[in-house]
């Protein structure tokens, strides 16, 4: 009665003399037949029965309508010589009981039952529903000061707003959508169509407004010597762009190939508006020119791919083509040096701030293989080429990664991973990069409520053609390798000492050899504090970088449900970055405490306080003679104790309260004072030029009132404030009132309204 299903693998022998088109046709036909032979029948619906182990709930065979049994597990897609009890693991011929509804393993008595494969009632063809919710509203705003930061991503001014959503289901078909429209610049729409799971279509459209800075260049324009002039060609303009994106995608499952999906994704991204563009004429006719650049950028992404699952093996292949076009005209400037010089060969009425068109082609292949329970292998390969259409320069990217995860012992999870990528630009001055990184991680459940984790990783970045130094005043640049090695490790634990209390801690360290550095001429440099004359040699400054050679990071998180109504969650993070070769040291502390309190069912408070402090000490070099040289001596001022400090506090509080079944009240407040200072002993006033002292506040309150079932009135008020107390830039505040009337068709119908 039980028979082993055996597929006949066709012998693929094609002579070279046969027409290739015939070969392709035959091959494809055989392929479809082959795939269909074991995949198509699994979807024949109600005519089949699965034989399923009652203990592990995994199907072990498939009985078709004609009484034959395919011994292939749909879960693992394994062919079985004979049924094997999943419970005891012994091969057996199951003993059929009465009416063959339940089969029992003769070895350990584990039952294997049959189950008719049929559509559940929830997706029967008679099931049909339609849901609709519409919420029109009106917005009113009042703004003082600058809108640039206080409403960086928001539309202002009075206007109508509409949010809506619908959901239509009929059997296994679903069409759903939701929409939010505040203005042409701020909208978000989604449409989802599911046709019996065979064809799944999605469409997303969104538009975001982004207000941009307008630098008035007021700090420039000193007149001493009369050489530097500043011109803002469009001083009164408020710059902004609108980022608009269309993203349709479709997934198709072809009948006969149920485990293969064909995927097409498209993205049409536009960035339109105006932004500030700046340029500089060098030296003699020093002139900083700011102008308006029209931004009209279009990005087209088309991805075609396919995803296939063959039991334990899953594959994805995708090809993506991207085209980026800047249709806006670049601004122009008449570069006229005050005197003719071979140092300034670029002159004339020329464009600046040109953004080149580019294309990018990417091929991706991903593969996952579930070797056994807890053991899986994932491999990924990427090949990409991006081309600059303006210069025809290109860069190739090749990437691959491999990850193997296994559970060799109960409670032990181990992972080994390796990633490689290579970036190879065609331009001779660009830096090639070859990156190898790998690591191992392990997490072990020491007890039921305690787990430990540890890991080690190694990364090597090879840069074979880094600009090392210039040979002589006008000689060629010497290029050579600059390779970075990173060794990192981590230790951590996750502990649940009692119900409602979770503690986790982690410590990470990293040692980095030769991080990315701007190379100077170390051997001729003797750093000293104060102004010192140096001999006239190129590059008298040392190697400089903001990258660390040693990193330590600690993390402690506690989540404590103190009572049934109160939860406390403090999180503390500490990091320490050092680079002794450039005397740089950065230390950060970040503490966050969150508390939530729900004294009664319909009332809850939550508050979060964050304290973020950072301190960076570095040696800065004021003045240099690198590159452009004169016949005179150069000099460098060295400040070995420059400090950059930041301090940010963020306090967030919120309350939600439902005093009655019809009414809900909410209120939220966020207060974020922040400051940054830059202290240099050589020029104490430098800090004043770039210090930051910014305070932002946000308050949001309102209520929902159910006028009748399905009809809800929502009114809200939001206040935003951005204050720059140091530079007095972009300070402003907004008041925003919103009122919406929400109408839920279904709730109203359910209540008989």
């Amino acid at each position: 009665m039980m028979e082993t299903h055996s597929s006949t693998v066709p012998q693929l022998r094609f002579g070279l003399s046969r027409p290739l088109s015939l070969k392709v046709a035959v091959t494809l036909a055989v392929g479809f037949l082959f795939l269909g032979s074991f995949s198509g029948r699994a979807s024949d619906g109600a005519t089949q029965q699965l034989v399923i182990c009652a203990k592990c709930n995994v199907a072990v065979s498939l009985r078709t309508g004609d009484g034959t049994i395919r011994t292939r597990c749909p879960n693992r897609w394994e062919k079985l010589d004979k049924l094997r009890c999943p419970s005891c693991g012994k091969s057996s011929r199951f003993k059929p009981e009465a009416e063959e509804e339940k089969w029992v393993c003769p070895y350990d008595g584990a039952s294997v039952i049959t189950n008719t494969v049929q559509e559940p009632p929830s997706v029967s063809r008679t099931d049909r529903s339609f849901e609709l919710e519409v919420a029109p509203g009106q917005r009113a705003t009042a703004t003082t000061g600058s809108k640039t930061k206080v409403a960086e991503y928001r539309v202002l001014g009075p206007g109508a707003e509409v949010t809506s959503s619908f959901n239509f289901r009929r059997g296994s078909t679903r069409i759903a959508g939701k929409s939010l429209r505040r203005s042409d610049e701020d909208q978000d729409h989604q449409l989802f169509i599911d046709l019996g799971r065979r064809v799944i279509l999605g469409l997303k459209q969104s538009s975001i407004l982004h207000r941009l800075d307008h630098d008035l260049l007021t700090n420039l324009g000193f007149t001493e010597g009369g050489r530097l002039t500043v011109a803002d060609a469009d001083p009164g303009r408020n710059y902004q762009i609108v980022r608009s994106e269309w993203k349709p995608d479709v997934r198709i499952t072809v009948p006969g190939l149920p485990h293969v999906q064909f995927i097409a994704r498209y993205r049409y991204l536009t960035r339109g508006g105006h932004e500030q563009a700046r340029t500089l004429t060098h030296c003699a006719s020093c002139h900083v020119q700011a102008g308006t650049r029209r931004v009209d950028q279009v990005t087209n992404d088309l991805e075609l791919g396919s995803e296939a699952k063959f039991g334990p093996l899953a594959l994805y292949y995708g090809h993506t083509v991207r085209k980026f076009n800047e249709r806006g005209q670049a601004p122009r400037f008449d570069y006229r040096p005050a005197f003719a010089s071979t140092f300034f060969p670029i002159t004339g009425d020329l464009p600046y701030g040109v953004i080149p068109d580019s294309t990018k082609r990417t091929d991706k292949l991903d593969l996952r293989w579930d070797v056994s329970h807890g053991t899986s292998v994932h491999a990924g390969f990427t090949s990409a080429r991006s081309e600059n259409q303006f210069t025809r320069g290109a860069a190739d990217l090749i990437s691959s990664n491999l990850r193997i995860t296994a559970r060799p012992l109960p409670g032990l999870k181990t992972t080994a991973r390796y990633q490689f990528y290579e970036i190879n630009p065609t331009h001779p001055d660009s830096i090639d990069r070859i990156v190898h990184s790998g690591g191992v991680e392990a997490a072990y459940a020491l007890t039921r409520n305690t787990s430990l984790e540890a890991g080690y990783e190694l990364e090597r970045i090879n840069r074979p053609n880094v600009l090392l130094r210039r040979l002589g005043l006008s000689g060629p640049y010497e290029r050579g390798p600059w390779n970075t090695s990173k060794h990192g490790g981590k230790l951590g634990f996750l502990l649940r000492p009692r119900a409602g209390l979770d503690v986790s801690a982690r410590y990470k360290f990293q040692l980095i050899d030769q991080p990315l550095t701007r190379l100077g001429k170390q051997d001729s440099f003797a750093p000293q504090v104060g102004r010192r004359p140096y001999p006239s040699v190129p590059g008298i400054y040392p190697d400089l970088t903001n990258q660390p050679t040693q990193v330590q990071e600690g993390f402690l998180s506690v989540n404590w449900r103190a009572t049934k109504t109160l939860t406390l969650s403090p999180v503390y993070r500490f990091s320490d970055d050092r680079n002794s070769s450039v005397d740089r040291h950065q230390r950060d502390h970040l503490l966050t405490v969150t508390a939530t309190y729900s004294p009664v069912e319909r009332l809850n408070f939550s508050t979060t306080y964050t304290y973020d402090r950072s301190r960076t000490a570095a040696v800065l070099y004021f003045g240099s003679t690198g590159g452009l040289r004169s016949l005179e001596e150069g000099w460098v001022d060295i400040d070995p104790g420059t400090l950059y400090r930041t301090r940010i506090q963020a306090w967030v509080a919120g309350i939600n309260w439902m005093p009655s079944r019809r009414t809900a009240l909410f209120a939220n407040y966020r207060f974020t004072p922040s400051s940054a200072s830059f202290d240099s002993s050589i020029a104490p006033d430098l800090g004043g030029f770039s210090a930051l002292k910014i305070t932002s506040q946000w308050a949001y309150t309102g209520f929902d009132y159910a006028i009748s079932p399905g009809v809800v009135l929502r009114a809200s008020y939001a206040f935003d404030d951005y204050a720059d107390r140091a530079l007095q830039l972009n300070s402003g505040s907004t008041n925003l009132f919103r009122i919406h009337l929400s109408w839920n068709f279904n709730e109203q119908r359910r209540s008989g309204g």
């Binding site: 749909p74 879960n75 420039l220 063959f310 994932h378 630009p425 990315l516 903001n546 964050t610």
Partner: protein, 339 residues
Amino acid sequence: MKPSKRKFKLASLSTIVVLALCSVMTDAGEKQQDRAPTAKVPSIAGAEYVGQKMCAVCHVDQGREFSKTAHARIATFELQVARRECESCHGPGSLHIQGRGDTRKILKFGMALDPELFGRGDPSKIIHYSGLPPAEKANTNAYCLSCHNSRSHFDWAGSRHDQANVGCVDCHYPMRATEKLLIKPEPDLCLDCHAQRRAQLSYPSHHPILEGKIKCTDCHNQHGSGSRAMLRQENVSQLCFQCHPEKEGPFTFEHPPVTEDCTICHEPHGTIANNLKKQEEPFLCMQCHPGHQSQLPALKDVLDSREKRQTFYTKCTQCHSTLHGTDLPSTTGLGRFTR
């Protein structure tokens, strides 16, 4: 060889490779018969399957809510395990029914997450996946992953979330018809655990995540990826170029940090300094670049006057405005990022 013939040959070879791969997989499948299944639903000793209709007798609201979810619409051809409707996840329900709804005799997802929907039973007496000890979540995750093994989940095993014992049901609620069955929408879902990111996203310069314009998952694959920080691209720069393609080039004059790693200068979650700069100019720039000094007499003593310091040591990008890369040389003919 003519190009058309070459294409045909290429197509033919590709097809043969695919078929050979399928063949190998089939053979491999035969050899895997002794392997254990990838997932086991936690068992309830002695219980047997009763069918969905029995469940619906009591659980009317849950059934109604479930019928709106994607799980209820799954077609038979998509199934990787046996179709048992409610009992696929909750386990066999006979003892639960015999015990008149004894909640100790059924497996529940997310009891602690939605008392409103499921009533207010005592969570300590209920076997529910969300309340499992961290080390035991892997089994329930494996059960979900036995079906959810599409490309976006390829890297779950060994991912940061997997290592930290995050359970599928910590974020997803299989019974509720929300977007992607999430227990709450982004970004709150992510920020409930990543509280420090919540704070950073409210700093003066930030990506519009709290504003709801972009999502955490636009950049991170929460189910794991082959690159660090669970990024959706091979490295940080490639990720940033997805939305900022104008900075990809490749340019004739490149600023090495742009092609190396954008986070050398930027902190994408939030900063005080404008444009997500880690530190304000000129400090950020001067850690790698010595400050300006010209040999021309009028500008030589650059630090002598406040005006000159204000010009040269306030905002480097006022003059070096194309520092992300440009194809246009400066007036000196070199790549100073001033055009």
